[in-house]
């Protein structure tokens, strides 16, 4: 069939890394480059500019994306040093010594009733997460989330992955080029040219001449060469809400080759930020996210080395640490003319809830599924994309801010400043005002694209003992026996489930050895 000349026929993704290759995969999956009527997808990346290579935590949506893109989970686990992530455990986010809570992936049980008010009324000798589910216990017991007899992508508990960023990009590269028909070019972009309407016309490169396409995807990282530098779309800094502006990153070994692999990301609060700790198969990835307005770089490094000393001893004094400045915020628009930004070029916030890869994946899929059928639709689709993605970023910022503004830590200006009302977005403040006196509800979350929903807020609010006072409306919660029964059932279930799961490292070893069956 002859295509109208208004059709968009060629897409050029500029930049590799996880964002570029996720974008290329999602686009190719939708646009069928192999089909004569399809859209050609090409990715051009620099052979010289390194990727940032630090993002190693994911959320369950990544599991669905890998399956949707046709990646084998066995290959992914074997090639990306991947391990299973079932939660983020927050240590030290409240002032009480030893405070720790899990934000798990499983949905809390809410059938036949919401246990939240009953937990609030209880003695709270057990955590909220323990009441409403079993995943925190699975994590604390160090067990993997699935059985060898389950097919790929299925688990007993909901899970995501910890992965090696570089190896993940390499796997996506192979998958995109071998299986999805993406063309791969290596060159440095030396110039970006616009046409009379302001759209991007073509790129100059150092070794491949001019590259022409109908649509461009900016995956050039913080530099944002197309959307930011060329199309001059301004950056909206959200440092007014989220105070951390630098990260120190380091990779460290385990104590022994058979050391247990943690089942969760650990986020440990510190004097001017927090330290992430992610366990892969043979190494850990860790680092300190901090505010340079509240601690100087050298002192931050000392804090990180102190943290590491607990696990790697004297190596903590010599291990190489990388400092990365972070631009916290997002572009005013994410799609302008014929160019959309995916990845760090679009925006970035501190990785407290693993939102980096999450946003790359979610927005890449959104772009691919809404890809314009003809040029004339681009302005409308761009507006829609911009509104949705902006909404997503704002919700992400609200949720991350939540962790800080309901903390009672008082030991440094960083923690006190995080509670200043001027730094709390109205949307979050309104929610918190309501939730002082009534439990959060499904109706507090109005959109399918909230990113973080009721269950996520419940885990963090009540992991941090948010003081919801329902004494005035206790009459609404008149089924304590049903609640007790649900809690007891949950307890029994968690014991059965625990008996059926392997220790995490053993599961990973078996998957390396035997693979997982596709069915």
């Amino acid at each position: 069939m002859k295509r109208p000349s208004s059709a968009v026929r060629e897409v050029l993704v500029v930049g590799g890394g996880t964002a570029g290759w996720l974008a290329a995969c999602h686009l190719a999956r939708q646009l069928h480059p192999g089909d004569p009527d399809g859209v050609r997808v090409t990715l051009v990346e620099s052979p010289d500019i390194p990727t940032i290579g630090v993002g190693e935590g994911t959320v369950p949506a990544m599991r669905r994306s890998l399956q949707y893109l046709g990646v084998s989970e066995t290959d992914f686990i074997r090639e990306c040093e991947a391990t299973f992530k079932q939660s983020i455990r927050f240590d030290g986010w409240m002032s009480r010594p030893g405070h720790s809570y899990h934000h798990v992936f499983d949905y809390p049980r809410r059938d036949p009733l919401d246990l939240t008010p009953y937990w609030l009324q209880s003695r709270r000798d057990r955590s909220y997460t323990d009441w409403v589910g079993l995943q925190s216990r699975v994590c604390d017991a160090g067990l993997g989330p699935k059985q060898m007899t389950q097919p790929e992508f299925q688990g007993v508990t909901s899970y995501a992955y910890h992965l090696d960023a570089g190896k993940f990009a390499a796997l996506l590269t192979r998958h995109a080029t071998d299986k999805l028909g993406v063309s791969h070019l290596k060159a440095n972009v030396t110039g970006v040219h616009r046409d009379a309407t302001g759209a991007i016309a073509y790129l100059d490169t150092d070794r491949l001449g001019e590259l022409h396409a109908d649509f461009y995807v900016d995956c050039t990282g913080f530099a944002s060469r197309l959307l930011g530098q060329t199309l001059q779309v301004p950056f909206i800094d959200r440092g007014d809400v989220l105070l951390a502006d630098h990260a120190l990153a380091v990779q460290v070994p385990y104590a022994a080759p058979d050391s247990p692999i943690p089942c969760q990301t650990i986020a440990t609060a510190r004097s001017a930020g927090w330290i992430w700790d992610i366990g892969l198969v043979k190494r850990r990835g860790t680092g300190y996210v901090y505010s340079s307005a509240h601690i100087d770089h050298d002192a931050a490094e000392v804090e990180l080395r102190d943290y590491l000393r607990g696990s790697i001893g004297t190596q903590a004094d010599t291990v190489g640490i990388r400092r990365i400045p972070m631009q916290v915020g997002y572009r005013e628009r994410f799609w302008a003319h014929n160019c959309a930004a995916i990845g760090l070029s679009q925006g970035f916030v501190e990785p407290l809830e693993a939102t980096g890869l999450l946003m790359f994946d979610a927005t890449a899929r959104m772009l691919a599924e809404q890809f314009p059928a003809q040029r004339s639709l681009m302005p409308l689709l761009a507006d829609r994309f911009n509104a949705r993605v902006r909404f997503a970023w704002e919700r992400v910022i609200d949720f991350i801010k939540l962790h800080y503004c309901i903390s009672d830590r008082d030991d440094s200006a960083f923690w006190r400043d995080n509670r200043s009302p001027a730094s709390i977005p109205d949307s979050l403040a309104q929610n918190l005002a309501i939730w002082r006196h009534q439990v959060p509800s499904e109706y507090d979350f109005s959109s399918k694209l909230e990113i973080f929903n009721l269950e996520n807020y419940l885990y963090v609010l009540y992991g941090m003992d948010y003081p919801t006072d329902i004494s005035a409306i206790a009459y609404r919660y008149a089924q304590p026996e049903t609640a007790q029964r649900m809690v007891a059932e949950n307890r029994a279930l968690s014991e059965r489930v625990g008996g059926a799961l392997l220790p995490h490292r053993e599961l990973i070893d078996k998957i390396h050895r035997y693979g997982l069956q596709p069915v």
Binding site: M148, K510, V519
Partner: protein
Amino acid sequence: MAQPVPINVAQHANLKVRNALDLGASSGQQVLPITVPEFSRAGNDCPILFIKNAETGQFQAVMLLGLSREENLIYRDGEWEGTYVPEVLRMGPFKLLMIGQDAELATMGVDMESPLVSETEGEPLFDEQGNATEFMQESRDAIENYHHQGNATRAFLSELVERDLLTQQSLVMEIEGEKVQIDGIYLVDENKVRELPDDVALDYYRRGFLPAIYAHLMSLGQTSRLARLKVQAQRKGGPRILGT
């Protein structure tokens, strides 16, 4: 269950093995592994199914002998109620062991706890000079051949998985008012087989995969035979029949 040990002349110079069938080894086994060359004969008696190994998740081909856990309806009161005894039972106490760092070397192993093994009765493994006897060599040939059959079966199963020809099922039956359910079994989807491209179908025919697929599909009717055997066994007293 004992682990077989590698046979060596130092430890096993006086070992003897009775050259007989030890059907008792199938007591309490609801399934027995079978290889592709055995499908058509095994399928005359019992359903041939595919299940996953609980430890590794890998697929295996098995002959179904019972309808509940640890139930063997085929071997009862010392009698084998079928026309075909699977090869796994005809290997006696011998097993091929894969040793070495990457499990690349094969050596002959023996299950010292088998009733066929002693120092008094049966065929010696080594002669006075410490050389392997003819019996030992024949046994070794038999288990090596069985190992090759196992490899061919694994290749067949990989092919079924790769072509997405397997479908997960539960077997549900009612036997004299009692519900019987077996989960976690996989069968070949005959419709998908019929839709295979011509070149693949021809390749399967030549490699013996098509006959194996149809031997499996034809065998599924044997579930009713197992149901009848179960009813008979129950009427004799006791719902669970273990071999004696």
